[in-house]
């Protein structure tokens, strides 16, 4: 980049920052509008932006969708993304989808939002006629709506790899039948509830289409407040200005999940977070946990945390306390919901909490930008925010009655897939802690690795493993040679083309438990060459030489297929240094290198890879 270009970048970036700071200070509708329109006037095409920071969102709608577009644009920028937004022509979403040459397809979006309201799909006199309709006629209306949407979406998935977000319908709070609505065979509310159920069932197993639960969002916000009638009649606006941020936040959950801007670990203080009172002053029997109203609130907060743990969020402790006193509560207090095994790591000491946080991050191998910090002390929170701005610090309300709500409102824990491995992640971290204890008791690394009784299972990808494979592809940063991200639909497509691609998963078990699938490799076949398009291992198993066993299996398969050369690619990122010397260490020769990509080659006729003796390999 020339110095001239750099200067342009800096000027534009500072302009952007000023505008976004205004929204940060005062997130009003007026300021979102102002920011959105001002940014549109800036020529951002000159900025050099990395692929992982870009996001293209298309909005197709039956109503005026610009206000949502403006929220998504600004919200994306507030988390460091550079969005491009395409707004389809008003109420022409079917044409946009059906026309192969529409601007939608030229735009090539990463996410397509289809926002259709029920009124657009039903005849104008649906409401007055409703009570006169027979059950069959009502069912027919439902089928028409579902078929209309299904037809459009099936076309869409043929034409694009984008993530597709379809909203469900707001179940009306009013029915002309009043209290009898659920006494007739299909009341007005049931009509929409059933429609929503049909949509959910239709796309339950789909990995490209997600149904956004607009009805539940409107309930949370209050259905009456979700619509601004003035703006609805004047300009076909469907979301009121108070409801818009709620809707935008939900769509942002998908954006964050797609761009992997998610949190994986909740780090907790103890006093006045997991229980009421100060353990050092109130003692084991004096802290509030269960019993009185405050104590019940703390138990409920622990229950909520446990529900996160059971969906794969890691929990850890960062608290100023005497370790022996605190661990006694965790192990023995009858009303503790969370126990020692639920915490991947514990820092209970008198050290600075920022220090503890850094240690937790490196011990757990979880980036600071994936961590959430919960502490009741405003001073500790401020200190954390200042020292480690990447950490998400929850603004915990003063009253423990509101703790659950504060945590529930954080939309940073979402992923697009959730495998069995993901759900059991907490358990695995605990096993890892046990493994570390074993390591300390062994004098050499080799002795330790031998004592683990490791078994590695390497398999070709199939339907059951693809969700986990996709999740690893999108989450692994450190031991990841190319950091290429693929959606589940893309992985499935590659796996179908078995003449061009070969996808492997690697699973590890040892005497402490089953780690599940922790490694993925994607091979691109090119005649006599096999190219390693992706090769990645979860940081959980780095340092056990399992990657060597994985590579050996690929070499073995390549030889069986008459391949002469294995080509390895390495794309450097800020995070993948641990993988840098992988090809060199395994005897590859460098054949090409520039700052963005290095290519390595292994001659399969002359090379041989030794699998470490402590790894037992089971092939399918």
């Amino acid at each position: 980049m020339s110095s001239e270009e750099k200067k342009t970048d800096v000027t534009i970036e500072s302009q952007l920052k000023d505008i976004l700071d205004m929204v940060r200070r005062e997130p009003t509708y007026l300021n979102y509008w102002n920011a959105y329109r001002r940014i549109q006037r800036i020529d951002l095409s000159k900025l050099s932006i990395s692929e992982e920071k870009r996001i293209k969102i298309a909005l197709l709608s039956s109503f005026t969708i610009e206000p949502l577009a403006m929220y998504l644009d600004i919200e994306s920028r507030l988390i460091g993304l550079y969005p491009e937004i395409y707004i389809g022509p008003f109420n022409q979403y079917p044409q946009e989808i059906l026309d192969d040459h529409s601007r939608l397809y030229k735009f090539d979006p990463d996410i397509i939002i289809i926002a259709v309201h029920a009124e657009a799909l039903l005849e104008e006199n649906f409401l007055p006629k409703f009570t006169l309709l027979s059950k069959e006629e009502k069912k027919q209306h439902q089928d028409e709506i579902i078929n209309h949407l299904r037809g459009l979406l099936s076309k869409l998935v043929l034409k694009t790899k984008a993530l597709i977000l379809l909203n469900n319908f707001m179940v009306p709070w009013f029915s002309p039948l009043g209290i009898l609505d659920n006494k007739v065979e299909m009341g007005l509310k049931s009509f929409f509830q059933e429609l929503n159920q049909m949509l959910a069932d239709l796309y339950r197993a789909d990995r490209q289409i997600y149904v956004v639960d607009l009805d539940s969002l409107a309930s949370k916000h209050g259905k009456i407040r979700s619509l601004n009638y003035e703006m609805y009649y004047r300009g076909a606006f469907f979301f009121s200005e108070s409801f818009l941020p709620v809707v935008a936040e939900e769509y942002m959950s998908y954006v964050k999940a797609l761009k992997n801007l998610i949190r994986k670990c909740i780090v907790l203080d103890l006093d006045n977070v997991l229980w009421g009172g100060i353990l050092g002053e109130d003692g084991f029997n004096g802290i509030k946990l269960g019993g009185d109203p405050i104590g019940k609130a703390y138990m409920d907060f622990q229950r909520l945390l446990l529900s996160y743990y059971n969906r794969g969020i890691i929990l850890a402790i960062n608290s100023k306390n005497n370790f022996d006193e605190a661990i006694k509560v965790i192990r023995e207090h009858p009303n503790m919901i969370l126990r020692e095994k639920n915490f991947a790591s514990m820092r209970i000491n008198w050290q600075d909490k920022v220090e503890n946080m850094l240690e937790l991050s490196s011990e757990l191998n979880i980036g600071l930008d994936s961590m959430v910090f919960i502490d009741d002390s405003p001073q500790e929170r401020e200190r954390m925010k200042q020292a480690l701005p990447e950490v998400l610090v929850v603004d915990l309300p003063p009253s423990p009655f509101r703790y659950c709500e504060a945590l529930q409102n954080i939309n940073d824990f979402n992923t697009l897939v959730l495998s069995e491995e993901d759900k059991r992640r907490g358990e695995m971290y605990y096993a890892r802690r046990k493994r570390k204890q074993l390591m300390k008791s062994k004098s050499t690394l080799e002795e330790f690795l031998k004592s683990l009784d490791m078994t590695v299972e390497i398999k070709r990808a199939d339907e059951s493993t693809i969700p986990r494979i996709t999740s690893l592809i999108n989450r692994t940063n450190q031991f990841n040679l190319t950091t290429r991200r693929y959606t589940q639909a893309e992985v499935e497509e590659m796996n179908r083309q078995s003449d061009k691609f070969q996808i492997y998963s690697l699973r590890v078990k040892d005497k402490f438990g089953d780690e599940g699938i922790v490694g993925v490799a994607i091979i691109r076949k090119d005649g006599k060459n096999w190219i390693i398009d992706s090769f990645l291992m979860s940081c959980r198993v780095i340092g056990r030489r399992i990657e060597t066993a994985f590579l050996a299996k690929i070499i073995d398969d390549a030889k069986k297929n008459g391949v002469s050369y294995l080509i390895g690619e390495y794309i450097p990122t800020k995070k993948n240094k641990p993988a840098r010397s992988f090809y060199k260490d395994h005897g590859f020769e460098k054949i090409q290198e520039n700052e963005n990509l290095a290519k390595w080659r292994l001659n399969l006729e002359t090379s041989k890879i030794n699998v470490p003796e402590w790894v037992k390999i089971r092939n399918e």
Binding site: L30, W33, N34, R37, E230, R234, G235, F237, E241
Partner: protein, 81 residues
């Protein structure tokens, strides 16, 4: 004239229409301000309505062409401007 009302109207005008305070005057019309498109117009109406707790009539909304028109419509609804 109430200066805090004036100030709030000024903020709405400058922020919705992307104007500097110095550019805002009563004669300024929709034809001269590039940003004053139909969406911005509705945004403007919505913001003044919620800020000053009034509802403009459809005729007024359609006939507002200048900032003077907007002020006149607000005055009619009892906004002290």
């Amino acid at each position: 004239m109430n200066s805090s009302t004036e100030k709030r109207l000024m903020e709405i005008l400058t922020k919705v229409l992307l104007l500097d305070e110095s550019e805002v005057n009563d004669e300024l019309s929709r034809d001269e301000v590039e940003e004053w498109d139909s969406l911005a117009h509705l945004m403007l109406i919505n913001e003044v309505e919620s800020t000053f707790q009034v509802t403009l009539s459809d005729e007024d909304i359609m006939s507002i062409r200048t900032i003077r028109d907007l002020k006149r419509a607000l005055k009619k609804l009892g906004v002290n401007i």
